[in-house]
Symmetry: D2
Subunit: 140 residues, 4 copies
Amino acid sequence: MTGITHDPAVRQCIDDCLQCRTTCLGMAMGHCLERQGAHSERGHLTLMLNCAELCGTAAHFMLAGSTLHTEVCALCATVCGACAQSCRQLDGMEHCVAACERCAASCRTVSGVQAPGVHASDQLPTTGVTGGPPRQGAYG
Amino acid sequence: MTGITHDPAVRQCIDDCLQCRTTCLGMAMGHCLERQGAHSERGHLTLMLNCAELCGTAAHFMLAGSTLHTEVCALCATVCGACAQSCRQLDGMEHCVAACERCAASCRTVSGVQAPGVHASDQLPTTGVTGGPPRQGAYG
Amino acid sequence: MTGITHDPAVRQCIDDCLQCRTTCLGMAMGHCLERQGAHSERGHLTLMLNCAELCGTAAHFMLAGSTLHTEVCALCATVCGACAQSCRQLDGMEHCVAACERCAASCRTVSGVQAPGVHASDQLPTTGVTGGPPRQGAYG
Amino acid sequence: MTGITHDPAVRQCIDDCLQCRTTCLGMAMGHCLERQGAHSERGHLTLMLNCAELCGTAAHFMLAGSTLHTEVCALCATVCGACAQSCRQLDGMEHCVAACERCAASCRTVSGVQAPGVHASDQLPTTGVTGGPPRQGAYG
């Protein structure tokens, strides 16, 4: 992202938020509404749309250089985690699960929040590594 | 808001978030960029744009009927409070201050968060009253 | 809308676009996904979400005071018209039909575009009257 | 973009719209508001924000698989062209000019609209080549 920030973790997080937003929006309006049934169940579909919305907002705060971005990213990690869990119950949602998990990991890195169930002593020292799944696809 | 929720505090909060979003966006792109100087200083202008963005996202979660809306609204109250404070330093921003304060109050009501500096014992029992400033204007 | 414009037709159009956005988003994520079946059919649901998105964008251009708003509003009138037609086929969508029709009418007024099937000679002189249905509800 | 479309020109256009949105938003809230002066002049800054908004909307229509996307993309090409021209007058906006030009070219390809000043007979047969500048950067 040009002209914004030189912090590589923030730049990565912007990319991951935008990729997650696009994947969630596209999968919700594409795959899920094509499949119907559990895929278009209200709770699941609105969670995907909410997740897309909040990811866009987290990127917006980071692009602005706001110091409030850590709080937005912490919340974004929570919502992405919930969206990944909802997607994991359904067929053909692997891309969305991966995008949500990667975004949640980046958002935790940026906000300094621990992953749920992770104790500080379990963590290896990191150097900006987000720990997400291998990157693939257009924004890779 | 039709077909969404019957909780009057949530409906009021949706209205207040959308009004705050519109006022912040309009004032940022109108009054502030007309005036330049302190009004278009980066920290102030991006806070107004961020605030508008997050208010829209809070409304999106409430319109979706998401249970995660309380966390989004708690954060929205914080950002609206910061935006109100920034606007209070500048000329001609009264509408924006009022919209941000009203939205922050509604968001606190919906999320169950106390106003900063308010002790629980100071509060009168409320019955859906948001405690914001008098309402005015198009969305009254 | 404060500090934006003094043109009453543009101010009305901003309100109508924002109301249409909110109604479409809320009905899509609420009523339509509750009802499922034809209400959550992909073509219909994505049209409602697209319509909400474009209405927000049209308001954004008007709030910015952009001279390009006429072209955005002309397109918005088309998409709102398509959304109203799709909603008219389904139960319980009267609010959404009304919001889309009102927004389409305001957008045509602002952009100088004729309604489909209307001949210029059929039109009475107007003085900023949008010709939409009676206004109701929160943003009245 | 997963699960959306198999048309490579549309997929490319989604990427280019999202990249343009991010670049315009980031440059507006970063470089332009840092620099002030002509960079933060109202007409320029709001055009960048409007352009970002419409690019996001064009991507939204394409992600939805809407047949109305051609009209949104045609308008997006116009606004991106105007934004590129505005950015070309200012220092340090090369990334934004490139992103806008690339997005405008992709949008014209997808919508079947000619570039301004181009006669049909001047065009070589194309096979999905957008004719934009060389691609660089994170979304490359």
